[in-house]
Homo-oligomer: 430 residues x 2
Amino acid sequence: MTPIRVAVLGAGVVGTQVIRLLREQGEELSARVGAPLELVGVAVRRPHQHPDIPAELLTTDAAALVAREDVDVVIEVIGGIDPTKDLLLTALRRGAAVVTANKALLAEEGPALYEAADAAGADLYFEAAVAGAIPLIRPIRESLAGDRISRIMGIVNGTTNFILSAMTADGSSYELALKEATRLGYAEADPTADVDGFDAAAKAAILASIGFHTRVGAADVYREGMADVTAADISAAAELGCVVKLLAICERVNTGTGDAVSARVHPVMLPRAHPLAGVDGAYNAVYVEAESAGRLMFYGPGAGGAPTASAVLGDLVAVARNKISGGRGPRESAYAALPVQPMGEVPSRYHISLDVDDKAGVLAAVATAFAEAGVSISTVRQEGREAEATLVVVTHSAPDAALSATVSRLSELDSVHRVTSVMRVMGDVA
Amino acid sequence: MTPIRVAVLGAGVVGTQVIRLLREQGEELSARVGAPLELVGVAVRRPHQHPDIPAELLTTDAAALVAREDVDVVIEVIGGIDPTKDLLLTALRRGAAVVTANKALLAEEGPALYEAADAAGADLYFEAAVAGAIPLIRPIRESLAGDRISRIMGIVNGTTNFILSAMTADGSSYELALKEATRLGYAEADPTADVDGFDAAAKAAILASIGFHTRVGAADVYREGMADVTAADISAAAELGCVVKLLAICERVNTGTGDAVSARVHPVMLPRAHPLAGVDGAYNAVYVEAESAGRLMFYGPGAGGAPTASAVLGDLVAVARNKISGGRGPRESAYAALPVQPMGEVPSRYHISLDVDDKAGVLAAVATAFAEAGVSISTVRQEGREAEATLVVVTHSAPDAALSATVSRLSELDSVHRVTSVMRVMGDVA
């Protein structure tokens, strides 16, 4: 049978595993495809750094590799927007299938890639772009294609989950936990993309797009990282029976005038009984709610060379099977074209801790600030100390803008010394 | 665009939901497919019992419906082997795609259906056959197609999990818990298929087949139900830090002379820390271990009309998309053709409770019985009482046949009054 010819762009942590597995398990994979898989080229920057890859496969000219007419599938594991976008467009335009793990590119430039794929009838697969080895893209794009998804919520960044788990387990500070994560290889030298939520926001954009049949880009996702989460926040959460998680939350909401999509990434106090609360360390888990299916959860390793390579190779087998059967995988589905709900309108509950004067009238002043903003208080707890007291307020649901405005006003009250912890709360808490 | 014409066989619990959703959300589903979906017929036994379905769609002649040349997709939700098998063969042979939720048929007659599908280039999809709405077939057949799965282990029967959860929660007997499950609609009037493990065994056969690229039929699955699980077993498990679960376990094992598949369904004492131990009530969860992906878990509602309909409609959208693109979904993948390991050779650990004479030498006699069978004891605990004592033994791993032979011999010892609890143990226990 005519072989399916595969080119790989990049031989880093994921690429190395993809190439190793293609070479070690090529026969097995070919049996599953129904035709031989042949690795015909690997584009890298520095060929001499890859002694394990046969020299005749290596090239520094990625542009020439993706343009080769005999390449049927391009696997992209270099990341970044530029020049990756152009490389993939070149491949798609001449009908090659693309398998990519590039969440940032999909979140920024997904529509352009989809359009090129559609124009040429080519496949664009990206299971590895969200939550590593956990099958998530395929279940949402395909298994749940007959259902109405209302919410996709998950821990999709292992680095920040590792840090938050460590802070929760031993009360350590963010700085110490980050240092440990870096030492163990869970955090990169520059952890910005992870701790500031950029990585999770790109994944939220992808999940919201496929879940709600709407184009949602990285810029549509409200984003708050976890660099400001303190040990005080973690212990405040514990007192509420909660843990702190950095969640990607994608919802289909009814705004009163119609449906909209909300996509956001921020730290949340989550009740310990919630299935996501027990997901610790570098693991990922995504919770999906759909009208007919009910509540589903997907759990597994969210990153790492081998797990991500597993997802890439699953996609490779799929696109190769499509090549043979003459079919195509799912295309972009953006027919719903829902608007994105601004973060200010998203209903939130807040937990707020305040250091206040320990004297009469303070609670009244604080309560007034909430009332004037139209925010209703669910519980308030006062803990007296010598010179000052602490007020812990948990609100009912209110528009996020009203809540953040209230927090600003509170910090301006004379009787409030300091706002020590502010965090959104999810679910039922005391 | 030419519509995709759909026939439904059966309008019971699942069929009713499929038909409702097709009619209520047909436009949405059509947008996702890229062509109109048109329901052209519903085969039922008693048309007058379905006033909600337009009379012109109803027919009692299922054979004529599946033979109609204008039907593109046949959805089968009647169950059973006969005449269902022939109906689906007729549909597949003339190139219609089949979407079925029929685990028993797939486990018994899967190869015949696959062969007919392959001969005609037709699709055969069955996401709903295992674990209701939980995407599992597609992740295993497609997402993990680039990986080597070593184990698939899960709670795949909601009825028995509901009963075991109730017995664990309140110490009630099997009979009482079954009565309650029946009252609440979680158990059928004749619960045999569930409590005797036939349902779970059919699902294990399907999971082992697709996970290990080998034909595994229902008859290849070792099966023990949970009707003999007693309140004493449950409390013995609790003393070990375990819960009792009825698991479907599919493993790829190295027998020394090569790889083999083990597929079995039986009650297990599972440590509370295991992710499956916390899955309670009618929920299902499946744990998958793969060489590159690591450990994955899938969790959700395993049965019910709407969840199962969600899985059926996801498959409908998939096969309809394939019809339009001219492609095909995954075929049978049975190239590995591994042998099935007999249960007697499967390495097991046993928990055994014995009522024995409270006198010197009993432990020695019991220990000798284990030793003579080549079974090594991990822990033994003796609880004295007035007239007699209880011995609780947990073994190391040994071939299942050696363990069951040992249990028979123990019950023949004069000093052993009664074997009160025997159950396989999984994982690390004290």
